[in-house]
């Protein structure tokens, strides 16, 4: 075989190697990890294009007045509520919520990412990501596999179906997409701005590495509610990664604070 033929062969091999690499990246397999089976899709944990596990603390630079303290009763600026929400907003009574055992209304999936606190993200099993919050001691489960059992009764954190959104061919990375339904009615803000049990919460989690070190998670949350929102309510929140759980401080739900 001549030198020209060898060069040609090398070029063809390089061209073929490219798409193979791309396929591997799209499937999210870790470098050097086990090869992907042709018959069974890899579990969500093994194929994760980004690592969300660990402790994260919220950085409250937006909506400070609505998140770090309880705003005035009746204020709902920047939330596109329908007229149907007004009686609930104006009747908000945190003591009554507390007495009725509804003190977690301000900690449901529609708003929990806006509550100042820490997240602890772990894998409960190969296809279930678990997110614990120290504020309100809530637990969310993002299920990548279809649930084996019926949805059950509505709850503050509902049922969350998750999937990885991978970067297009030839690139690493991606994001986590979560859709949550089967919720108990809750509050978008502590002062009683409501979302209904018909609400759907869609979340996209992205990770950024900051110059000089440190990682940040950005969560874009979209709340659709045919009852109390005239259009989707979309906000994004950021969390900084912490080295360990030494600042983890579980506190129960509270309507009054």
């Amino acid at each position: 075989m001549s030198r020209a033929h060898l060069m040609l062969l090398a070029l063809v091999a390089a061209a073929l190697a490219g798409p193979v690499t791309v396929r591997a990246q799209r499937q999210g397999g870790p470098p050097g990890g086990p090869s992907t089976s042709r018959t069974a899709a890899p579990a969500a944990r093994e194929s994760a294009p980004i690592d969300l596990t660990g402790y994260w603390v919220s950085v409250v630079t937006e909506d400070w007045r609505y998140r770090m303290v309880t705003p005035a009763k009746g204020e709902f600026r920047r939330i596109p509520v329908t007229p149907a929400a007004l009686p609930i907003i104006n009747a908000w009574d945190p003591a009554a919520d507390e007495r009725a055992g509804n003190q977690c209304k301000g900690y449901g999936a529609g708003t929990i990412m806006r509550v100042p606190g820490r997240l602890h993200v772990t894998w409960e099993d190969a296809d279930t990501m678990r997110v614990d919050t120290d504020a309100g001691t809530q637990t969310r489960r993002f299920r990548f596999a279809p649930p084996a059992a019926p949805a059950g009764a509505p709850s503050w954190q509902g049922n969350s179906a998750a999937r990885w959104d991978r970067a297009p061919a030839g690139a690493m990375g991606g994001s986590l997409h979560v859709v949550t339904t089967n919720l108990r009615a809750g509050y978008l803000r502590k002062n009683g701005v409501p979302y209904s049990a018909q609400a759907t919460v869609t979340e996209d989690f992205d990770v950024a590495t900051l110059p000089g070190g440190g990682r940040v998670v950005v969560v874009t949350v979209t709340v659709d509610d045919p009852v109390y929102l005239a259009r989707p309510f979309i906000v994004s929140s950021q969390f900084k990664q912490e080295p360990d759980g030494s600042k983890w401080d579980p506190t129960p739900c509270s309507s009054t604070w």
Partner: protein, 301 residues
């Protein structure tokens, strides 16, 4: 022989084309260009009440300068058209009109330009790998921005900004500040994360994220700023307050019953621990009587 040569050359061209096509695919991961409408669901500037530095991690120098700021400075002819810096792209109320400049031969995006508003210059994100200029090079209000794709994220960095404000209430940003950006697209929503660093005025990176939505109509762009007489003659002294003499120092915190160190932008007030610290002393303001929000009927589904 000729046929053999042609076949080989054709194959080489085809292989190289395939490789280049792969590179091109990896270079643009989502369509950034277009009109992105503001959602106005997040409060990053509050009410522009004087001495509102909420959520900012300020140094003592920044706080001192911000407390010396007098809103009347904006009436000075030489300051009326002093545009906001690049950070205002997220902190301001407007949408993003983004255009791409495509190199015609290989079809690669050379730059994205985020259109100007009436009080902010346009920002060009150079995607062609050019370096940032020397630190001593020209500084402008918009600064100098380069970008690259990391997976499905557009990563950009802005340097060479003129000294400006980071909040309307006179909070300063120095000409040594840098902004690192991340642009994430999820369907019709664009989320932008901004990390601002400033060795003079920020005690730690100022992290802000904000989302925009695809707009079927163009978003507002530049209306040229025109100066006019607003009560200050050229050469008049710059309005300011002497240390400890700002008459509005307590206005914002009293309006919303906020702790002093929160209103003044102490860095620790950004974190959950601070919320627990103020729990026992906080008294919520009285029920809202005006400007409480607007309820609207949903469009027909």
């Amino acid at each position: 022989m000729f046929f053999h040569l042609v076949t080989r050359r054709t194959l080489v061209v085809a292989v190289v084309t395939c490789l280049l096509a792969g590179v091109r695919d990896a270079s643009a991961q989502f369509e950034l260009a277009g009109a992105w409408a503001p959602l106005s669901t997040e409060d990053v500037q509050n009410d522009s009440v004087p001495v509102d530095f909420l959520g900012l991690p300020l140094t003592e120098a920044a706080r001192t300068r911000a407390l010396a700021y007098d809103e009347s400075q904006k009436a000075m002819i030489e300051r009326q058209c002093m545009h906001w810096g690049a950070a205002y792209m997220l902190l301001g109320p407007f949408g993003l009109g983004i255009a791409s400049d495509v190199e015609p031969v290989r079809g690669r995006v050379m730059s994205y330009t985020i259109a100007a508003w009436e009080d902010r210059m346009s920002t060009t994100i150079w995607m062609d790998g050019r370096p940032h200029p020397s630190p001593y090079d020209l500084h402008t209000q918009a600064g100098f921005t380069t970008g690259r794709w990391e997976g499905n994220t557009l990563v950009a960095r802005t340097t060479h900004m003129k000294a400006a404000f980071i909040r309307k209430t006179g909070v300063p940003l120095s000409d040594e500040a840098e902004i690192n950006w991340r642009f994430y697209r999820h369907g019709a929503v664009l989320t932008v994360l901004m990390a601002v660093t400033d060795p003079s005025y920020l005690a730690e990176p100022y992290l802000v994220s904000k989302s925009f939505q695809v707009s079927p109509t163009p978003v507002a762009t530049l209306t040229p700023c025109v100066t006019t007489f607003e009560g200050r003659e050229p050469g008049d002294p710059v309005p300011h307050y002497a240390p400890e003499k700002n008459p509005f120092a307590d206005e914002f915190m009293k309006l919303y019953h906020l702790p002093r160190e929160a209103a003044l932008g102490y860095p620790e007030t950004q974190y959950p621990e601070y919320r627990k610290r103020i729990k026992d002393g906080y008294q919520p303001p009285p029920p809202c009587k005006g400007n409480c929000g607007v309820a609207v009927n949903p469009p027909p589904r």
